[in-house]
């Protein structure tokens, strides 16, 4: 879900991205002279942080498959990705392979999604990972990877305080530990136990909200997407966790953004733990390589009823454009199968992209960094809960209702009861239109 970070940053870099895209298209036009047998597939995808790696993999594939040409374009996630894809489609320049962020996208691009149930990758996908992209008996998406989040902690701080982070399996135990850490702030050299970024509403509305609404939908994003009512029966548990993070966070909470949370505070050892996911690893590594490699780990957020389980899910899926020629569609499917099920492809998935695979057949692989290893281990042991939030991230409820209301609560402008009521009412209003 780093994509959500890009959702915010996306707009700021959109101009650059568009310019780069235009330059790329021009460049592509100049060498389009190919013989009749060759197939060219174009990829437009939303995981912009892996742009370089995807291009490298495409080159590698071209070498081993001389009749296929692959052109990769990456657009900075979420908000900016959809308009670009729409523009490409309406201007007759639709990509062969594109990415989908969840049920709302599946619905939006229905006319362009080919059935992928006959691919090897779809058959190898781990149970549950395809739930959000099944529609009308078809499978229209293949997961990029799985990602997981929880509390990313600073090992040294916990060691110094004599607390074993893996023992913090219940809310009470976590609370006691947080209070202890808070009382020893100065000895431990931290500014706060948590760093809660009040500016990045999606950290609350997507990741923190998820385990508390997901229980009502078995962690199934599609079920949530189709529901007329949001029960949100566990809202009191969410309040406890949000208050805990808020009260023991570095202040002021409402001034903190993603880069303050991850770069400024956590990576420099100023916070004991932050609520984040495995996608922050490259950022932390960029600031302090040794710290990232040796001193960080991740534990699940203790959620009553689901203790010891890590929320693991998929933020993006591959889709193949059904309006392209059969040959092109076939080449696209072959490429995706190669990437996720062949030996060379698997190696790239794990070692080049640093993806936690969403597919079976990766038993002998080892993840390369401590955070993805945690996600990989939890998913191998099946100690996971699903991501239900992609069921609402593509809808206007997320930015228009959930995020402002949660921020109002955090600023002390609104009671929790009112916040919950506004959120559930807003959902009902949107779903019953």
């Amino acid at each position: 879900m780093k994509k959500n970070f890009w959702k915010r940053l996306g707009k700021r870099v959109a101009v650059v991205a568009l310019a780069a895209g235009a330059a790329f298209t021009l460049a592509a036009c100049s060498n389009s002279s190919s013989s009749g047998k060759d197939v060219k597939i174009t990829i437009l995808q939303g995981k912009v942080e892996n742009n370089k790696q995807f291009k490298q993999i495409a080159k590698e594939y071209e070498k081993s498959h001389p009749h296929v040409k692959i052109e990769v374009t990456s657009i900075g996630g979420g908000t900016q990705y959809d308009p670009v894809l729409k523009t490409r489609i309406s201007s007759g320049n639709a990509p062969t392979i594109f990415s989908l962020a969840g049920p709302a996208d599946v619905q939006q691009f229905k006319a362009h999604e080919a059935d992928l149930s006959d691919t090897k990758a779809a058959k190898a996908a781990q149970p549950g990972t395809l739930d959000a992209v099944k529609t009308g008996g078809k499978i229209v998406g293949l997961p990029f990877n799985v990602e997981g989040y929880g509390f990313v902690y600073n090992k040294k701080v916990f060691e110094k305080a004599g607390i074993d982070p893996n023992s913090l399996t219940t809310v009470d135990k976590l609370e006691a530990a947080v209070k202890q850490l808070d009382s020893q702030k100065e000895q431990l050299g931290i500014k706060g136990v948590f760093a809660l970024p009040g500016k990045e509403a999606w950290i609350m509305s997507d990741h923190l909200l998820n385990p508390y609404v997901a229980q009502d939908y078995n962690g199934n994003a599609l079920k949530l997407y189709k529901s007329k009512k949001m029960a949100f029966s566990k809202n009191a548990d969410m309040k406890t966790m949000l208050d805990l993070q808020k009260d023991y966070s570095i202040k002021p909470v409402m001034q903190m953004d993603y880069s303050a949370q991850v770069n400024q505070y956590f990576s420099q050892g100023k916070a004991a733990m932050i609520q984040q996911g495995d996608w922050i690893y490259p950022t932390v590594e960029g600031i302090d390589k040794n710290f990232a490699k040796n001193d960080i780990g991740m534990i699940p957020i203790p959620v009553p009823g689901e203790e010891g389980k890590l929320p693991v899910g998929t933020s993006l899926y591959w889709a193949v454009n059904s309006q392209k020629s059969t040959a092109e569609q076939k080449a696209a499917k072959n490429f995706l199968d190669w990437l996720y099920t062949s030996k060379a492809g698997k190696k790239d998935v794990v070692n080049t992209l640093h993806f936690v695979p969403a597919y079976k057949g990766y038993d002998n692989y080892k993840m390369s960094d401590p955070l993805t290893s945690v996600v990989f281990n939890y998913s191998q042991k099946h100690q996971t809960t699903g991501w239900a939030f992609p069921g609402y991230t593509g809808t206007s409820w997320d930015p228009d209702v959930a995020q402002p209301n949660l921020q109002k609560y955090l600023s002390g402008k609104q009671s929790w009861d009112k916040t919950v009521k506004n959120m559930t009412d807003g959902w009902a209003k949107q779903q019953n239109k």
Binding site: K11, M254, Q255, P399, L410
Partner: protein, 286 residues
């Protein structure tokens, strides 16, 4: 009308074509889409005025509208007062006035986005540190609520644009013939009288231009808003332009966004035209 010959149209065509391609056609297309349920890709039906009805019940839009109106009133006044003040200052005869002109104009050379980020740092880090050191509460927690977000935006806009407004006033100030001022001096007019009775009427056209620029700029502002507050917290500092962009790209409601954009266009055009017409008339009266 006789000179509207072939060459007249020949010279006009490139501009007309360019305008049609990037302005007229998109506006007409947008107007059409605002009556449909367009999602950015396709539309399935015409919905009449539904989008326009929805937008007048849209709390976010109404909120953004009043926030923008407040912002425009404050910035128009401050920009013109400060811009004119700076212009009067640097047209005085003293050493270094050219240097000062450059300094005052400089913020305008920095792009709005970058400026927003720079000021975000000043507001959150600089103000915070200053507030801690001086024990002044009002310097702390900037940009975390609507009030500080509003004044943050005002400060950045005024800081950036007053140099530009200053340049326009300078141009007109320098056009005032010295003889008139000298004549007034001889007649015994005080400095204040010279300013109100001579300088001010003589630069009335500058006032029209600057009012227009500051008004339309205030309504259309987006990049500073994006980089400084991004509409937050809880969308309270979201201005009209940002609300329109977010309705389209965050909420994927393209047709409603088109309707909002049309309403926005009408409001800005109407206010700007009325203002120009009024000031033109006043210019003649003076």
């Amino acid at each position: 009308m006789k000179n509207r010959s072939l060459s007249f149209w020949l010279f006009l065509t490139p501009t007309l074509v360019a305008l049609a391609l990037v302005v007229f056609i998109p506006v007409i297309e947008g107007l059409f889409y605002s009556f449909t349920n367009w999602d950015g890709l396709t539309f399935t039906k015409m919905v009449g005025f539904q989008n326009y009805i929805t937008l007048f019940h849209d709390k976010a839009f109404i909120n953004a509208f009043w926030f923008t109106v407040g912002f425009v009133i404050v910035t128009v006044i401050m920009l013109n007062v400060i811009g004119l003040g700076l212009a009067l200052l640097v047209t005085q005869k003293f050493k270094g006035n050219n240097f000062l002109r450059t300094v005052f104009f400089m913020p305008n050379m920095i792009g709005g986005l970058i400026l927003g980020f720079i000021w975000q740092f000043i507001f959150t880090q600089g103000f915070q540190a200053l507030g801690d050191a001086l024990h002044m509460n009002w310097l702390q927690n900037w940009l975390t609520n609507e009030t500080t977000g509003f004044w943050g935006l005002v400060i950045v806009t005024v800081w950036q644009m007053s140099g530009y407004i200053m340049i326009i006033y300078i141009a007109y100030l320098q056009n005032i013939p010295n003889e008139i001022i000298e004549a007034a001096k001889i007649d015994g007019a005080s400095a204040w009288q010279r300013f109100t009775k001579i300088t001010f009427p003589m630069i009335a056209p500058a006032f029209t231009v600057c009012m227009f620029l500051t008004l339309s700029n205030g309504f259309k502002i987006y990049d500073q808003n994006l980089s400084l507050t991004n509409g937050g917290p809880y969308n309270s500092t979201q201005m009209l332009a940002m609300d329109i962009v977010n309705t389209a790209y965050n909420s994927a409601n393209f047709s409603l966004s088109e309707a909002k954009a049309i309403v926005f266009f009408v409001i800005v055009a109407a206010i700007s035209l009325v203002q120009v017409a009024y000031n033109r008339k006043r210019e003649e009266d003076l």
